[in-house]
């Protein structure tokens, strides 16, 4: 028997409280299964197990605030139970990496590998809206987008049974949502079924949606925004005190991405429309993969570059506060996939359904002000990351090119970077690469 402890869900987390158990004593859990909903100063998150085992007793009470590292759950080891064989996802290397903490991000393979799909489905199947049987191994043989697969896994939908309406019968995110809606009402089968209702609209409580009222014990607190602000303040003070920031800025012509976006949006239903941020984030992710010194972590006095780009995206929460969950392998996603992932991530951030890994493993963060707000933003680096990218509002400006002046939509891109890792030359190369990528948006 050993104990699972309160995990750290980000560099700024010192304590947390369990607000809902997703497993019960006697349940068998596998590495990656969700075990609890944890409320931190910033947001509510789903926490997964790092081990296989049989659930023993709860070691903390619901709503009890405990420090990171405090044992929260006793777990029987694999020796106490028979091997479960093929349904055990833990042996897949990608699953292993999936559950690793942020200290070893360079070991994370891309989750797009087919081998990771089935464990991923297993990992997430019990999570929520358990109206349908969990997705089964082999579901990845159905032609579908990675996002549709992920969504299906999360909603517990078997892709085999979903009618695809995309190219060559491929299953889209919309198809999965439709299938989920159709199966709603079927008997619930997941561990969370007893408490997982359709999250009531926060309108009922009149409070921001930061703390979904479906989470037992996490009554929305009027002080939540203040707590988030305090946690953010502490982290940013640490960042400014320990990281030697330098700042760069450049203005980028967005005429081509804007034209490509408008043309694509014309033929699309609103659910598939793009926003300019999708192009900006994609360019920022691809450039981060190519330019050394901006993507990775500063830990123990040295820079550990990351091969994967997990792009942190600053999301404003309604009612105040900010979280920056990661879009995993953002450089590998198409603009359309990234847009889908972004919408999903933002919606979950605001509903308090982020996953631990999303909060803990961003390798570089982007803050985008969208098409409102000011023209440029110089961000503060989120430790232990080494760079923060800022995109201001998209602004029409007079633009001189080839001796001619025209009016173009433009954006001011900024970089705040860690001088221990890079300098103006390298940082400049990064912003220039973003600019180049946005000149050929068709290839993004």
């Amino acid at each position: 028997m050993h104990e699972l402890t309160m995990p750290s869900l980000g560099a700024d987390m010192e304590h947390g409280k369990v607000v809902e158990w997703l497993v019960h004593p006697g349940d068998t859990v596998h590495r990656g299964d969700l075990i609890a909903v944890v409320d931190t100063d910033k947001t509510v998150m789903d926490v997964e197990s790092f081990e296989d085992g049989v659930v023993g007793e709860y070691l903390v009470d619901l709503g009890e605030t405990v420090a990171v590292g405090t044992p929260i759950l006793r777990l029987g080891t694999g020796a106490d139970q028979p091997e479960v064989g093929p349904t055990r996802p833990a042996e897949a290397p990608s699953e292993h990496a999936e559950a690793l903490p942020a200290e070893a991000p360079q070991e994370q393979p891309t989750p797009r590998e087919p081998s990771s799909e089935a464990p991923f489905a297993n990992r997430l199947a019990p999570r929520e809206h358990a109206e349908a049987p969990p997705a089964v191994a082999g579901a990845h043989r159905v032609r579908s987008s990675p996002l549709a697969r992920r969504l299906a896994a999360r909603l517990g939908i078997d892709l085999e049974g979903v009618v695809g309406t995309g190219q060559m019968g491929s299953v889209s995110e919309a198809d999965v949502r439709r299938a989920a809606a159709e199966t709603a009402g079927a008997p619930a089968s997941g561990p969370r079924s007893a408490t997982e209702e359709v999250p009531p609209s926060a309108a009922e409580t009149g409070k921001p949606a930061v703390v979904p009222s479906s989470h037992i014990g996490s009554q929305p607190s009027p002080d939540k925004a203040a707590t988030i602000r305090a946690a953010l303040g502490t982290l940013m003070a640490k960042s400014k005190a320990t990281i030697p920031h330098y700042y760069l800025s450049t203005t980028i012509d967005l005429a081509r991405p804007a034209a490509v976006m408008q043309e694509r949006n014309l033929a699309r239903s609103v659910a598939e429309r793009l926003v300019p941020a999708a192009f900006l984030l994609k360019a920022a992710a691809v450039a981060a993969h190519e330019v050394p010194g901006v993507n990775g972590f500063w830990t123990d006095g040295a820079f550990a570059p990351s091969q994967s780009v997990h792009l942190g995206v600053a999301v404003a929460l309604r009612g105040g506060g900010l979280v920056a969950p990661a879009l995993h392998d953002a450089n590998m996603l198409s603009v359309d996939e990234l847009m889908e992932a972004l919408r999903d991530l933002v919606a979950r951030a605001r509903a308090g359904h982020l996953l631990r890994a999303e909060m803990a493993d961003a390798t570089i963060t982007v803050t985008s002000l969208g098409d409102l707000g000011v023209e440029s933003v110089f961000g503060v680096i989120v430790p232990p990351q080494v760079a923060m990218v800022g995109f201001g509002r998209v602004v029409e400006r007079p633009w001189a090119e080839n001796g001619m002046i025209g009016v173009r939509p433009t954006v001011t891109a900024t970089l705040s970077a860690d001088h221990r890792v890079s300098d103006g030359l390298g940082g400049g190369r990064y912003l220039t690469r973003i600019q180049e990528l946005l000149l050929t948006p068709e290839e993004l």
């Binding site: 009149g206 972004l342 969208g370 409102l372």
Partner: protein
């Protein structure tokens, strides 16, 4: 699809996205983005909700017409079949 009262439909869609808004406090002249604090993703979700609830699709070229709460209500009213 049963036609809904356009104002109720817009209020319902809006509260899905911004639950803290009180229907009584929303003015027709309120700009969805600047005054009601919707970002570009929120705005897309709103348009999507409207489309689901009323079957009124707002193409991108018509976004300027639906920049305000009142504008969106009028747009839904005019395009509802």
């Amino acid at each position: 699809m049963t036609p809904l009262d356009p104002r109720s439909a817009v209020v319902a869609a809006l509260r899905e996205i911004a639950p803290e808004l009180e229907p009584d406090e929303i003015d027709d002249a309120d700009r969805l983005r600047q005054d009601l604090d919707l970002d570009s993703l929120d705005f897309l979700r709103l348009i999507e909700q409207i489309s689901k609830a009323t079957a009124v699709d707002v193409p991108e070229r018509d976004y300027p017409q639906v920049a305000t709460f009142g504008g969106l209500v009028a747009y839904v009213a005019a395009h509802q079949t």
